[in-house]
């Protein structure tokens, strides 16, 4: 199996605080890998380092066998950043936001028919085709997350990288997302995602990498529900419609 992501001894700092302290992370083609860990364990930093948004202070990173600084083939990657609630103020429709993802293929050129089709297809995959002309401000948290995932899928990626795709997402959207992801995985897409808990995605996960204080403390089969809940500092984000936005923090950290 060829290696899609290879991170070796990665260290990174935010300000002067070390956030990654020698992280090894390998993702092979077709794998679904979950990055788990408490808040502040470095999992989001690790995933942002993989897409080149956090510079590594030492260590190496290769994407599809190419060192990050020489990697140009971004159309092979679909990226779903952590959802921010801040609206930009200027209105934008669901379709306009999803089309932005396709720019990884069109770059500075004009979109062709195939590009428009890919955008419509991505909207259908997340069940948002009927909302394509609606402004994104009118969406719920879960629907917004589905839009961001459609934006990543519009490029028809080989590797999907997602930062907490299930955070603050209502149960209905979680099920849609799990279904979408299952379909992508069955088509051979490689997935690396940050999760707070395995939740409805559990059956899809091949391997879990658990971080604590910027170090890998577990790399292997996903911990069973009990073990996963027993992780120190674990946050419970329960997808009940009413108070999904407010995680109940029971962790020690």
């Amino acid at each position: 199996m060829d290696t899609v992501i290879s991170m070796r001894g990665a260290t990174a700092t935010l300000g002067s605080r070390p956030v990654l302290r020698g992280v090894d992370l390998t993702v092979r083609r077709g794998e679904v890998v979950a990055l788990l860990g408490a808040n502040g364990s470095g999992k989001s930093t690790a995933i942002r380092a993989v897409v080149g948004q956090v510079p590594l202070t030492s260590g190496g990173l290769e994407l599809f066998g190419t060192p990050l600084n020489r990697f140009r083939d971004w159309a092979r990657i679909g990226y779903v950043p952590q959802r921010t609630t801040a609206a930009s103020g200027v209105p934008a429709t669901v379709r306009e936001v999803v089309s932005a993802g396709r720019l990884a293929r069109t770059k500075l050129g004009l979109p062709r028919k195939a590009d428009r089709r890919a955008v419509e297809h991505a909207l259908e995959l997340v069940g948002m085709a009927d909302r394509a002309a609606d402004p994104v401000e009118a969406l719920s948290g879960g629907q917004h997350q589905r839009v961001l995932i459609a934006r990543a899928l519009s490029v028809e990626p080989e590797l999907l990288i997602m930062d907490e795709p299930m955070a603050g997402v209502d149960l209905a959207s979680q099920e849609v997302l799990a279904g979408t992801l299952r379909e992508q995985v069955s088509l051979g897409t490689t997935v690396l995602l940050v999760l707070h808990e395995l939740g409805p995605l559990e059956p899809l996960i091949d391997r879990a990498v658990v971080l604590r204080d910027g170090c890998v403390v577990h790399d292997g089969p996903p911990p069973k529900a009990q073990g996963q809940h027993a992780l120190p500092g674990h946050d419970h984000v329960h997808p009940h419609a009413g108070h999904a936005a407010e995680p109940i923090r029971t962790g020690l950290f």
Binding site: Y79, P81, S88, V90, A100, K107, A133
Partner: protein
């Protein structure tokens, strides 16, 4: 329509329409990136260029363009690197630019600060044929960038981190936005003045976003609003003998207020239509809590 027969008014109206197109066209990206006041900052810096133009007896429009572009590039570099003390650096740049403009103008052989006023607040009827050539060329550049690269600029302004991961040349596009904003400032300088430039970049956009639901509509509508207020403001200033820049800006604010008032019932109507397809709550609210057990103090 006697005003169309005067050459100076023809030039004034051409300049006004071009400003009405270009200022909101670049302004929408600035608003989207929460850099609404960037135009104001560039306006301050551009004054140095005007002063240099007087001092060196060069065309102030071209000098202002050169200095404003340099200033915008410096601002963008500060945004990249100097995040911690960025606001102080920007303040230095803005007020330094303004001060240098005043100083250079007073040093110029035939310069007085009265000349500066026409640049600070606009003096559309004194637009010369050379100015019009410069304004047309610069406006063409702005339209080319803001319309031709609208998809890319939208993506970069909407989610910079995501745009970087799509492999777009984000830094280059950011620089292009800054340079285009600087060029727009100098296009608008003669019409609304450097101190009011930012208003025409921001207010039509703010007005259009009251009722637009898509970026494409917001873009088109803000350009329409820009053209309408710039044109009617110039005509009004001719008949009422009032300064064009101030008239245009106040008209734009009038449009903003009108659209805001119109938007509230429109939003309500949309909400009602949206609620129409959904089903209503069927859960019953539990009866009021009995109060007899409450502890009295």
């Amino acid at each position: 329509m006697e005003l169309f027969s005067y050459a100076f008014m023809q030039r004034a109206l051409i300049a006004a329409v071009l400003v009405g197109i270009t200022a909101p066209a670049i302004g929408i990206y600035l608003v989207q990136r929460r850099q609404s006041l960037m135009g104001d900052g560039i306006g301050h810096v551009a004054l140095t260029g005007v002063g240099l133009g007087f001092l060196l007896s060069a065309n102030p429009v071209w000098m202002a363009t050169a200095v404003a572009v340099a200033g915008a590039v410096v601002m963008e570099l500060i945004r990249w690197y100097g995040r911690t003390r960025g606001d102080i650096a920007l303040a230095m740049l803005f007020y330094g630019g303004m001060a240098a403009g005043v100083l250079f103008t007073s040093l110029a052989p035939n310069g007085s600060n009265a000349n500066l006023l026409t640049y600070l607040f606009g003096s559309i009827t004194t637009v010369s044929p050379q100015d019009i050539t410069a304004i047309c060329l610069l406006a063409g550049f702005v339209v080319l960038v803001t319309v031709g690269l609208r998809r890319q600029l939208f993506a970069v302004s909407q989610d910079e981190e995501f745009a970087q991961v799509t492999g777009l040349p984000v830094r280059l596009l950011n620089l292009l936005v800054a340079v285009t904003a600087a060029v727009t400032v100098t296009v608008a300088m003669r019409v609304v003045g450097l101190l009011l430039v930012s208003a025409l970049m921001v207010i039509p956009v703010a007005a259009s976003q009251q009722i637009a639901r898509s970026f494409a509509t917001a873009f088109a509508l803000s350009v329409v609003i820009g053209v309408v207020v710039a044109f009617s403001g110039t005509v009004t200033s001719y008949y009422a003998d009032v300064p064009s820049g101030a008239t245009i800006v106040l008209l734009a604010i009038g449009v903003f207020v009108t659209l805001t008032l119109l938007a509230a019932p429109l939003a309500k109507k949309r909400a009602r239509r949206a609620a129409g397809d959904g089903t209503r709550c069927t859960l019953e609210v539990p009866a009021a809590r009995p109060t007899e057990d409450d502890v009295r103090v």
